[in-house]
Point group: D2
Chain length 279, copies 4
Amino acid sequence: MNALAEKVSRMLVSKENHPQITEVRVKGCVIGGEQLIVIAGPCAIETEELLKETAFKVRGAGADMLRGGAFKPRTSPYSFQGLGVVGLETLARVGEAMNMPVITEVMDSDDIPAVAEYADILQVGARNMHNFSLLKKLGRTNKPVLLKRGMAATVEEWLLAAEYILAGGNSQVVLCERGSRSAEKWTRNTLDLSAVALAKELTHLPVIVDPSHGTGVRSLVMPMAKAAIAAGADGIIIEVHPHPEKALSDGDQSLTPRQFSILMREIEPVAKAMGRRIR
Amino acid sequence: MNALAEKVSRMLVSKENHPQITEVRVKGCVIGGEQLIVIAGPCAIETEELLKETAFKVRGAGADMLRGGAFKPRTSPYSFQGLGVVGLETLARVGEAMNMPVITEVMDSDDIPAVAEYADILQVGARNMHNFSLLKKLGRTNKPVLLKRGMAATVEEWLLAAEYILAGGNSQVVLCERGSRSAEKWTRNTLDLSAVALAKELTHLPVIVDPSHGTGVRSLVMPMAKAAIAAGADGIIIEVHPHPEKALSDGDQSLTPRQFSILMREIEPVAKAMGRRIR
Amino acid sequence: MNALAEKVSRMLVSKENHPQITEVRVKGCVIGGEQLIVIAGPCAIETEELLKETAFKVRGAGADMLRGGAFKPRTSPYSFQGLGVVGLETLARVGEAMNMPVITEVMDSDDIPAVAEYADILQVGARNMHNFSLLKKLGRTNKPVLLKRGMAATVEEWLLAAEYILAGGNSQVVLCERGSRSAEKWTRNTLDLSAVALAKELTHLPVIVDPSHGTGVRSLVMPMAKAAIAAGADGIIIEVHPHPEKALSDGDQSLTPRQFSILMREIEPVAKAMGRRIR
Amino acid sequence: MNALAEKVSRMLVSKENHPQITEVRVKGCVIGGEQLIVIAGPCAIETEELLKETAFKVRGAGADMLRGGAFKPRTSPYSFQGLGVVGLETLARVGEAMNMPVITEVMDSDDIPAVAEYADILQVGARNMHNFSLLKKLGRTNKPVLLKRGMAATVEEWLLAAEYILAGGNSQVVLCERGSRSAEKWTRNTLDLSAVALAKELTHLPVIVDPSHGTGVRSLVMPMAKAAIAAGADGIIIEVHPHPEKALSDGDQSLTPRQFSILMREIEPVAKAMGRRIR
């Protein structure tokens, strides 16, 4: 056991104590298994029509799950805040129609019941990774949780945030690296793929990567998706929008369905080289 | 109007639109007035006896308000999480006995009613600065809010977090700089006093500084308290514990009551040089 | 042309103005061609025997070039500072014996002639990326330069540092990402692979990655080497030491020759997936 | 001796081993004594006329020493690089005429003799703090050195950089905090005044602060100058230009002579509160 493994050795997330990789199963999808999982969809749910169009196209290109935000954590109170419960309903409807499990963010412990009613995986955003009250309550649900790393969180803090959920009794946790804040000006965040390798080495939890938020730059999504897979990630989550230039949020980092389809084709050889298959 | 003032010019926090400095009044204390406000107390409320002893001593040394955590945001789920409602009751009782307004953290929107019942100022911790759901609900209360800057938040994001509260109808907001995460290893955080000067220049809100969390090093609390005052802060918030070596949290950065009393004496000339008085 | 390409559009490094990828040729090795280049060797040259042993083994495992420091930039004046010119001679001798081009760091403009006499590629370390005087003088040599990214340098600054060399007349520049300083405590640096993808997108220069310094953790070298290749790197540079536990510097991040040999085997499928071959 | 003092206890810079504060004396000015030293002047030396005008005015307002760059470390090779030796001559002439010691940057070990001929203090810029070769050679000169902290350097690395100079035999070193790189967008750097307090606590070297580079924002220079003094700094270095809007570099952060004169008046009470006097 090396020095870092020792640091997590008394934690529930530790691979030492639980050598078998946790597989998070959602309606036939398995995150953490041999198959690499691809989650795709718009940043925010805008209209049912747009979501349907996106879902149809990403499904066709090979995506496994559908993402879309109903409650949006926006820096400014004057930015579009998401459709709320109406968005959740839309997401659930489209997911069902396309036979895709759906994932969406929960921002407040009060909203857990509503989000849990409609979503298959509850996402904790980077800005809430240290919202311990939310983490504790998610530990008492029976829904899988996707836990994004906070934008200045160390790997240790990220694993301890996951530990809050496991300690509450919920072991269906997927870690998600989404980039850290840095002084770099040409990218929105600095994607830290060594954190992915570390999390895979030290814990039994599946780890996925968000190269869309992780870079904030459309042309970097593809190379970072490949790099994430080569670093050992169990999946990727990609923002796709039919008309990125008109998106209500995150247009600069969203792929068009066509670009997403090229991405799916191009990541396949890398996935294979890593012994993983794609749907 | 310079370029930065322009960036906030359409916000409720902007000094352009509201040249008069907001004074936050709590039981006879005024934050943002001529008097420099000193808030002191332990990191966490441990026992009523310890809190009383601390309050008695910091009050004697000249502190205006009493701080103490009942709900503690701890990195590890296995660390002491605070006494919760029992801690709130203790804090309120001791504050009343000492005739000191009290301030304590609220970590979850569900806890707002309970915390608001006992506390005179509700603190939003650095880890929750981006908990927009909490901010929105605090905008609908009528209690003053102390808003700490997030550990990797830009000044713009900090001001927009305050804007969430003001936009909700609550203009009793005090900003608090508490240090940003950095690569420096000898301090816990890097205290950014230029953020204090910027916030004072751009907004009408009072700004205080937490040199205890801002440095994490006992011997740095005094020089950084002086520097904060010279940078234009309206007050400081200091961790004091009768027996720092036995504190359940943050012992390394807590002053003893005797050290606090020296600090009060030593900051006085700097406050005077800045045209401020101390109680 | 996108917004970032526009920012570099008037620079000599820009791919817009020079669509053909620069191939840096050194004694039969081509950096920037179809073949992925692997540079390996110890952090510092310690003895001729050790260097020979290392070179023999990494050559056997498939390395293309030999690295080794003679002038070492050490944080403390009391740490081993390298063997200087004696080290250069040793490196040149061993390189010749093994038929491997050699690369070593030049720390001072005064040392350029000596280093250029013995080395095939002159390395500018991260701590000297902003040593503009050194860069200017390297622009006037006719030796290839490997330019590491500074530990807090933005991508723009890194490209402008390269521009200093090109503007001086030397276009044989290889960029090298080696990790940025961050608040993460479990790795020595945060390897920024999006910078690799950006540099490949915006410039015609070859880009390699140093996962040894980029992570500082032995177990992370392999996954980050794979990720680097998947991100589009033209090569990797790896620290190898026969007895890492006895190394005079960087033992924690050095692979044993055996580990290096496994790495060579494991990166091959990823390289192939990216359309690259390994020697 | 506390834990941090212990870390430097075997260094020449340590206050434990050398409790008497080092006073750096330059033509009647003492840095590190009771008097607070104010260094002022333009970023770059542009013309003799401009420099004279600036020197005359800052001298009149109470500045002790004159600054001005002849060799400029510019991010881009296409930016104004300074006047070189002609600039040095100009600086020396103006300094002599005004009876002000002069300080200017040395960027390359080759330039030490030339710079040492004209300047009273040799400045090592932030970008060269890790240029160990330069530091070693400065250790062998008999001129005082002003050592700026690197833009991502830890306090430990900064002190070890000073140690390089002291270990070479030159103990006339002045430390200078000038802000660290951070993710904050509204300031150029994040001025770390706790580093000043730490350096004063742990070493016997004088410490000054550069609030011009430390913030990059004109309106922040004054509050940060005051805060620096309150944090215990032995002096400040301020960029002043008669026509900031026409300056060849750093115009945004330069004060006009009139603003500088107000600054001199306003820092006085803070200096007095700290037991320091101004010329």
